[in-house]
């Protein structure tokens, strides 16, 4: 009964989305206020139907209704409630339903928070979101229905993949999808602007907060995925240049470019067509990433060969969304005139450089990820792995990092480089000192350069603030008063840039990480990385649906106890899988990381890592997202606010 309700709600959502795709856009074209006014109601209706539908799926999983294929294949009553709920999106059909749910939430968000938008623009934005929703909902309903029934129902479900039984990974998809799908809003704004044939400062002002929100989610999603790989896979690495990881990085790069570009549109009314293109590209990359890599069309022929109709349906949708928007761009964009003018050396110029470099990184990562397929077209087999990405991406990051600190201190329109650099001399000097000191102590060029870059980024991030409060040039009390009065978005930008510096410091630190593999008997002590790792004992612990072999280690340094850690190896009999549960003891500056391996002849295999500054990698991402969130709460950026100001400042 409940699954049928969910199925019905899904069908209802398709119908509403179809109306949402047509009525508002027709209304905006005919300038019919009644049709345009239907837009928010339809978007909210679709959102409610989708919430109901997804609620039914969760309910089926909670009550262990194994007559639902999706529940039977991905859940079991032996699992804790939390994993039964998260199992609903731990599979193909459920995750696509989640994707659609978030898309409908985006539509609802525009309906709720976009009251200040001109009604024609709002109708078009919601209409475009409706078109995308309608397509993917129709796909879910016809080709990937998560409510399909199984008869007779099995007594027990097949249980979620043990690797997914992890709090970090369980909440990963919703956050990542919020980022991916969140970019549908800037996309819808871009297409709406093309339909209207107009982009103005107000457009940039409206697009920025939505982009920023999606960007924050995507940043957190990528960091969470990387953190999960670090502690769960047991290899001590945090980024593997895997196609799935690259797929999430691509929209992040163009999204970051869009974020900066929207500032220029808002402040200077230039780079408008480029912003529109970036918005389209970012969502296109999100779509490609989700549906080509995640649905496995790329890495397993299996899925495509078994269900060619499904594959063709998805590819058709992608072609329609991406091709349609780019075709519209080709027709409408030439008519959109740029107004703002700027010199190469200026804030705008720096942002253009930022865009060129970010998009180049994106192009390189895309090329590397897709190249094996391209080579296959020419009957050549090759692999593109981490060594390629390190060699090609790092050289592009160097100028990007250099410009990241210089850009914010340049004035708009026209600037001189020298005074700007002089304002940064202290940051440059400290960064250089740190680099030289690191090289003298470590003799590791990559790490030293990385630490210098990190210092440059973190100090440079606050250079604009230092400049704004005229530190040391006016009395400190006055500087303090200016500091407090700075808008939150200035703080947000500085913090986000500093966050990048923190991540760079983590990456530099991790290049110094050391690891070893040893076989040890209980009672044995291993000397490694300046620590004494004593294997105290081994014991078995039963879990809810697994048994764990746990090792107890006592880590000490010069006789003083540092930590007691308990890495374990979980064996899931139902799924015939073993999963390592690594033990990580951190003091933020370094992680002591132990992974337990199999047992042979009374000895267990231990993988020991001393991971220098590992937490900085993800802390930096969190700081970046926090900076973004801080900008988002700035009143000047708030979505409702621009209408009042926009009405004054922007001639129609």
């Amino acid at each position: 009964m409940i699954p049928e309700l969910g199925h019905f709600a899904l069908a209802l959502a398709v119908a509403i989305a179809a109306a949402q795709a047509v009525l508002p856009i027709v209304g905006a074209r005919a300038n019919d206020p009644r049709l345009m006014a239907a837009a928010p109601a339809l978007a909210l209706g679709q959102m409610i139907a989708m919430l109901a539908s997804y609620g039914c799926l969760i309910w089926s999983a909670v009550v262990n209704d194994f007559s639902v294929v999706d529940v039977a294949e991905n859940s079991s009553s032996a699992e804790p409630l939390f994993y039964r709920i998260t199992g609903t999106w731990g599979n193909h059909d459920g995750s696509i339903l989640l994707w659609c749910l978030i898309l409908s939430l985006c539509g609802g968000a525009v309906a709720l928070f976009g009251r200040g938008l001109p009604s024609a623009l709002r109708a078009r934005v919601i209409g475009v979101l409706g078109i995308v929703s309608a397509g993917f909902l129709l796909f879910t309903l016809t080709a990937s229905n998560p409510f399909a029934r199984l008869w007779p129902p099995p007594i027990q479900g097949a249980a979620i993949n043990p690797l997914l039984q992890d709090p970090g990974l369980a909440i990963h998809p919703p956050i990542l999808y919020a980022g991916y799908v969140g970019f549908s809003i800037p996309f819808a704004f871009a297409v709406a602007a093309l339909l209207e044939g107009r982009v103005d400062a107000a457009w940039g002002r409206w697009v920025r907060p939505w982009t920023l929100a999606a960007w924050c989610f995507l940043t957190c999603g990528i960091a969470l995925g990387s953190w999960w790989a670090y502690y769960e896979l047991g290899w001590g690495g945090y980024w593997f240049w895997d196609p799935v990881e690259n797929a999430s990085l691509l929209p992040w790069l163009t999204g970051t470019a869009l974020l900066h570009c929207a500032i220029v549109v808002e402040k200077r009314e230039t780079l408008k067509t480029w912003s529109v293109l970036l918005a389209i590209a970012t969502f296109s990359l999100s779509l490609t990433g989700t549906f080509m890599v995640r649905s496995g069309i790329l890495n397993s022929v299996h899925s495509f060969a078994v269900a060619p109709t499904q594959g063709v349906f998805i590819l058709g949708l992608l072609a329609l969304t991406i091709g349609g928007s780019l075709a519209l761009f080709a027709f409408r964009a030439p008519a959109m005139a740029a107004t703002g003018v700027f010199a190469p050396i200026s804030r705008e110029g720096a942002l253009v450089l930022n865009n060129v470099l970010l998009c180049s990184v994106c192009a390189v990562v895309f090329t590397g990820t897709a190249y094996p397929l391209l080579a296959a077209l020419f009957h050549s087999d090759l692999s593109v792995g981490p060594p390629y990405f390190h060699l090609t991406v790092v050289p592009l990051l160097v100028p990007l990092f250099l410009a990241m600190s210089v850009g914010p201190v340049l004035p708009w329109k026209r600037a001189d480089l020298l005074p700007a650099l002089l304002r940064l001399w202290w940051a440059g000097a400290i960064a250089a000192l740190i680099g030289i000191a690191a090289e003298a102590g470590l003799h590791r060029a990559f790490a030293s350069a990385g630490f210098a870059a990190a210092a440059w980024l973190i100090l440079g991030a606050f250079a604009e603030l230092v400049e704004r409060i005229r530190l040391f040039r006016i009395p400190l009390a006055n500087s303090w008063a200016r500091l407090v009065a700075q808008p939150l978005s200035v703080w947000g930008a500085a913090i986000a840039h500093a966050g990048m510096g923190v991540t760079v410091a983590g990456i530099a630190g991790m290049s110094l990480a050391a690891s070893t593999v040893v076989a040890a008997r209980p009672g044995q002590t291993i000397h490694f990385g300046g620590y004494d790792w004593k294997l105290v004992g081994l014991h078995q612990v039963p879990g809810p649906d697994y048994t764990a072999q746990v090792a107890d280690l006592r880590i000490s340094r010069d006789g003083a106890l540092v930590a007691l850690v308990h890495p374990s190896l979980h064996t899931f009999p139902q799924q015939h899988q073993t999963v390592t549960d690594t033990a990580i003891q951190t003091n933020v500056l370094r992680d002591l990381y132990v992974a337990l391996g199999g047992e042979q002849d009374g000895q267990v295999v231990l993988r020991l890592h001393v991971n220098t500054m590992a937490p900085f990698v993800w802390l930096g991402a969190l700081v970046m997202a926090a900076g973004g969130a801080l900008s988002l709460v700035d009143r000047r950026l708030r979505v409702g606010a621009p209408a009042k100001r926009g009405a004054v400042g922007v001639p129609a």
Partner: protein, 186 residues
Amino acid sequence: MDATTRRRLLMAAPLGIAAVGSGLFWTLLARMQQGTYDPHALKSMLIGKPLPTFSLPGQPPSAGFANTDVTAGKLPALVNFFASWCVPCIEESPTLMALQAKGVPIWGIAYKDSVAATTRFLNTRGNPYLRVARDADGRTAINFGLYGVPETYVVDRTGIVRLRYAGGLSEDSVRNTLAPLLAKLA
């Protein structure tokens, strides 16, 4: 070219790039459907080359053999890597028996397996091999560029490897791939 045309072309460039990209991708998918492209098909470096040099001890009671023994015998011939612990090897054994019954010479190499386990495997599943050699440490397999077991290599009349088939042979694959090739080489 005037400024307007140039601008139009510039704005159409993204669409063009996307079109080219999807065209290439579509070609790939079409080839996948026709079966002319298979991302899991493991390409062998041996195709068009003679067998790598090897000389392996026999699995008693069979005598061992070397690459020169294969090329000196009846050609075209098959060289088949197998192991008692591999499930697809068990599944392909009826197919190999049928090939042997048709007079196709098959040289067997037991990959990383014990004498006892191989004997048991041959006794229960049947022995389609002309001779069975043992590659206990798997080094000869690496020289073949082996990914896993089972794998079957087709050697033509001049001693050149013409096909590597990764995975268990089935009636289907013999009918569609192996038999036509053997007929052509005969």
